[in-house]
């Protein structure tokens, strides 16, 4: 992003914005950025808090008045740590031993638990961010289950699998956070990866691809699971 600002400014446009990785911005030296300490994925800090978001924008726009650059300024506010009281996942996902069968069967059973909460989320939020893969959720479940047994190798099929994985995670995340006061994003990630059949299926896919002789699949594996989950400790799985 620093590079885009750098190129646009050389074309005569005045740029400002938000940096989340201070070290990168300091090294690339774009004209102006405001560094915030917010988590990756949340450059404006707080969802549904217009006043807070405006304070961030104010601070970034103020940099346009500086007489010279590069300017890299720190936003003075941090986000508060999550509350000590943990919100509870509304969906009672089955433990692994309680759900024998093929991946297709296990994921289909779990989908029947998840779908009502996804629909509730859609109603409450008035939108969904599901839809990158342009296919119904049942088809995405089938695509994942099939890929564990028979990994695709064609680039178009791998791309379709990647979009399926992202949509499946989106579907689950929106379902789990369907109610206000939902689990914070750190807990949400743990629930998806360690408590669901979807998480177990995606880790099975990761294990299969990471050990595959085809270098394309080994490369693909890095885009399946977050770095903290792909080296998962089975003892932490609930």
């Amino acid at each position: 992003m620093s590079a885009i600002a750098w190129f646009l400014e050389t074309e005569g446009l005045q740029t400002t914005g938000i940096s989340l990785v201070r070290e990168h911005t300091a090294s690339l030296k774009p004209p102006r950025f405001l560094w915030t300490s917010f988590p990756l994925g949340r450059p404006l800090g707080k969802p549904n808090d217009a006043a807070f978001q405006h304070r961030v924008i104010d601070a970034a726009l103020d940099l346009l008045d500086r007489p010279e650059g590069p300017v890299l300024e720190d936003f003075p506010e941090d986000l508060p740590d999550p509350p000590d009281v943990q919100a509870v996942c509304p969906i009672h996902f089955a433990r692994p031993q309680a759900a024998p069968g093929s991946w297709q069967q296990r994921l289909t059973v779990e989908l029947s638990l998840t779908s009502p909460w996804y629909e509730l989320s859609r109603q409450r939020r008035g939108r969904t961010t599901f839809g990158v893969a342009k296919a119904p959720i049942e088809a995405l479940v089938a695509r994942l289950a099939h890929a564990i047994d028979q990994p695709p190798v064609e680039p178009a099929d791998l791309a379709a699998l990647k979009y399926a994985l992202e949509d499946l995670k989106t579907y689950y995340q929106e379902a789990i956070t369907a109610q206000p006061g939902h689990p914070d994003f750190r807990l949400l990630q743990q629930i998806v990866w360690r408590q669901t059949e979807l998480g177990r299926a995606m880790l099975a896919l990761y294990d299969r691809f990471a050990a595959h002789p085809d270098a394309r699949l080994r490369g693909f594996a890095r885009g399946i699971a977050p770095r903290g989950e792909s080296g998962h400790d089975p003892a932490q799985t609930t």
Partner: protein
């Protein structure tokens, strides 16, 4: 609160391992007009696009146009990285792409106008030089629209 030093070691090492050499002397356009006279475009590197657009692919340096009248329920995210939080975006588009906040500023007279079109890249795995051609082409399109100011958000 999250700072690089607070991230798990594997995330910290991954981010610091990316080569980020300076691009050269910093270009710098001096402020020439008050906010109330500016026309502003938003650029995000969150891999956003309209639901019907082609999703981003791995190592994709192209961009997607986001029409200025886009609604939150029309936008999805196909960023390739799995190492950032997406639930903030699921809760509120503006935490990634603050289009409603800037519309409010125009309504209040705090900003002259918003561009007819905004833009999304996917900022992952790309070396800065890979973004040069698309960024320079984009600059031409923005200037044709009368844009003089760009607000960039990462993800």
């Amino acid at each position: 609160m999250v700072r690089l030093a607070d991230l798990p070691e594997h995330d910290r090492e991954h981010l610091l391992g990316k080569p980020m050499d300076p691009l050269g002397p910093t270009p710098f356009v001096a402020n020439q007009r008050p906010m109330g006279e500016r026309r502003l475009a938003l650029i995000t590197t969150a891999g956003l696009h309209h639901r019907d657009d082609d999703p981003f692919r791995l190592m994709d340096s192209s961009y997607r146009v986001i029409p200025g009248d886009s609604r939150g329920d029309e936008l999805v995210m196909s960023h390739s990285s799995v190492n950032f939080d997406r639930n903030g975006f699921q809760d509120d588009l503006n935490v990634v792409f603050p289009i409603d906040r800037f519309r409010e500023r125009v309504d209040r007279g705090q900003l002259g106008s918003l561009a007819d079109q905004h833009v999304s890249f996917m900022g992952s795995l790309l070396q800065p030089a890979m973004l040069e051609a698309s960024s320079r082409q984009l600059a031409g399109l923005l200037k044709q629209d009368g844009v003089d100011t760009v607000f960039l958000t990462p993800v």
